[in-house]
């Protein structure tokens, strides 16, 4: 075993290999890992190292030169003009209810009263609402809370679940439930006939189309962050990442492609 380590220590790559470091949002990281793998297959002399740590770390690292490309699950803030944010994909959340629920539209303030437990019943049948909420650490949960301007401790949830699939499976059996999932997931399940439906938020339909044209309110940008001038090999990888070749990968992680 010791011999193995010594061998490992000395297998440094003798040939010039360019390394590209990416750090930042854990939401974007799985997507970039897959894009990086595809890129490495095509380019032998490049190694791409993806590390997580949150959007803020991604931005700070880029500014301080600790990475070549940062990842952020948001658009640029006004204090971040020194860097360039390239939009990689979009992410949107749909509010979903059971198919038998006649509700068509919900407003932000109604959502707040429901999720903080102030409104306990649906108006159409006076039955108790089952509130489905996501566990802490989920990016959809963070976006949802940020949109409503609430803290997680203010939410009076009946069921706390993990991922999108679980939210849908739970809601299928709850005629009086309400929940939220990535728009891509909801669209897919409606298309295969799962008894759930998306309801409009502020009269705007939760669809991939409305996320793309930025009219749907509950959405965000997933960005790659770079300095203003970058070396050629980084530029080449950045262009590859931002090209429209990755639609399948983006949809596979339930994000919304730009085009």
């Amino acid at each position: 075993m010791r011999l193995l380590i010594v061998l490992y220590l000395f297998t440094f790559n003798v040939f010039a290999i360019d390394k590209i470091h990416l750090t930042g949002s854990s939401t974007v990281a799985p997507l970039m890992t897959e894009i990086a793998k595809a890129y490495e297959l095509k380019n032998d002399n490049i190694r791409i190292d993806v590390q997580t740590g949150g959007s803020t770390k991604g931005v700070v690292d880029t500014r301080k030169g600790r990475n070549e490309i940062g990842m952020a699950s948001r658009a640029a803030k006004s204090s971040e003009n020194d860097l360039i944010f390239h939009t990689l994909a979009l992410d949107g959340i749909a509010i979903i209810v059971h198919k038998d629920n006649p509700t068509q539209n919900i407003t932000k303030s109604e959502l707040i009263t429901i999720y903080t437990g102030k409104q306990k019943q649906w108006p159409h049948n006076s039955k108790d609402i089952s509130i489905i909420h996501k566990a802490e650490g989920r990016s959809t949960q963070e976006l949802f809370l940020a949109y409503l301007g609430l803290k997680n401790s203010q939410i009076k949830a009946d069921i706390v679940i993990g991922d999108n699939e679980q939210a849908i499976k739970t809601l299928m059996n709850l005629p009086n439930g309400v929940g939220y999932v990535s728009i891509g997931t909801a669209e897919y399940h409606e298309s295969i006939g799962t008894p759930i439906k998306r309801i409009q938020l502020e009269k705007i339909t939760a669809s991939t189309k409305n996320v793309k044209n930025a009219s749907y309110p509950l959405s965000r940008k997933l960005s790659l962050v770079t300095k203003k001038d970058i070396p050629d090999h980084v530029k080449h990888f950045l262009d590859y990442s931002l090209s429209n070749e990755h639609e399948e990968l983006i949809k596979g992680l339930y994000f919304v492609p730009l085009k």
Partner: protein, 270 residues
């Protein structure tokens, strides 16, 4: 007597329940490819080869560094206790404080020292070194308390026989302390393998097959965290990884315990 023994059996239930659940949920996903190919599609498809290799590499570095260091420190502390009692008590106290520090702090420490200051980057080497630092205090304290007991038990006899103190330490205390060394190693190894927080900052996230110990490599625990928290639809493979992790830990532990039992028999302790 009967009540107390049934309480003991009750205590077994949560542990067995946890292990059975993990194995039942995880093992159905087990395929031959799990050991032959690396993850793809953000960990939802493919195997676990690169993850298992990274984990074993991190663990090897951790143990190669921490086991000799811990046993040397513990022996030295036993030796010094006779001459510098106050100092050695202070040392034990500081070790106790160190072993109570949350692992995430060691992760940040490793990130600053190894990843940034020593410029090792997010690498398996940084991860292994950080984990070695993390498990050292616990290992030293376990070893030291056992060595101290042995020293107390045999001190008068050796003095009566006129045996030199350093000979006593190396010829009697160390060999008799071997079971404690095994126990400390298991303890350290289990903590190291289960560690997530410290490794997120040091050995990193990359699920590629490591080409050298200076490459970033994702450990099994980090893989579980990533699949369960960040990848939609990653739950199944998260369970599989968890089941394998539990399985590997159980195997290593029982192998070492078995080996230790026979060693004890040969040393005439049992």
């Amino acid at each position: 007597m009967r009540i107390s023994s049934s309480i003991l059996y009750l205590g077994l239930i949560p542990g067995l329940w946890l292990i059975t659940c993990t194995l039942i949920l995880g093992l159905p996903q087990l395929r031959l490819e799990t050991f032959l190919i690396s993850p793809s599609d953000a960990g939802r498809a493919g195997g676990l080869l690169s993850i298992i290799i990274s984990t074993l590499l991190i663990l090897t570095i951790t143990l190669v560094i921490s086991v000799p260091l811990a046993s040397a420190t513990a022996l030295a502390m036993t030796y010094f206790r006779r001459y510098f009692l106050k100092l050695s008590r202070l040392l034990s106290l500081s070790l106790d404080v160190l072993s109570a520090i949350p692992s995430v702090i060691f992760g940040l420490f490793g990130n600053v020292l190894f990843v940034e200051k020593l410029n090792l980057g997010h690498s398996i080497l940084s991860g292994g070194l950080t984990l070695a630092f993390m498990i050292l205090p616990t290992m030293v304290r376990t070893l030291e308390s056992s060595y101290h007991e042995i020293e107390k038990g045999y001190a008068k006899t050796t003095e009566a026989l006129g045996i030199n103190f350093s000979t006593f330490i190396y010829q009697i205390v160390f060999p008799l302390g071997l079971p404690a060394l095994i126990f400390a190693t298991i303890l350290g190894m289990t903590r190291a393998m289960a560690e997530t927080a410290a490794l997120l900052f040091t050995s990193g996230y990359s699920d590629r097959m490591p080409e050298s110990v200076l490459d970033s490599g994702r450990s099994m625990s980090v893989h579980i965290y990533e699949l369960a928290m960040n990848v939609p639809g990653g739950d199944k493979n998260a369970y599989l990884t968890a089941a394998l992790l539990v399985f590997i830990l159980l195997t290593i532990n029982s192998a070492i315990t078995y080996f230790g039992y026979h060693l004890n028999k040969r040393l005439g302790i049992l």
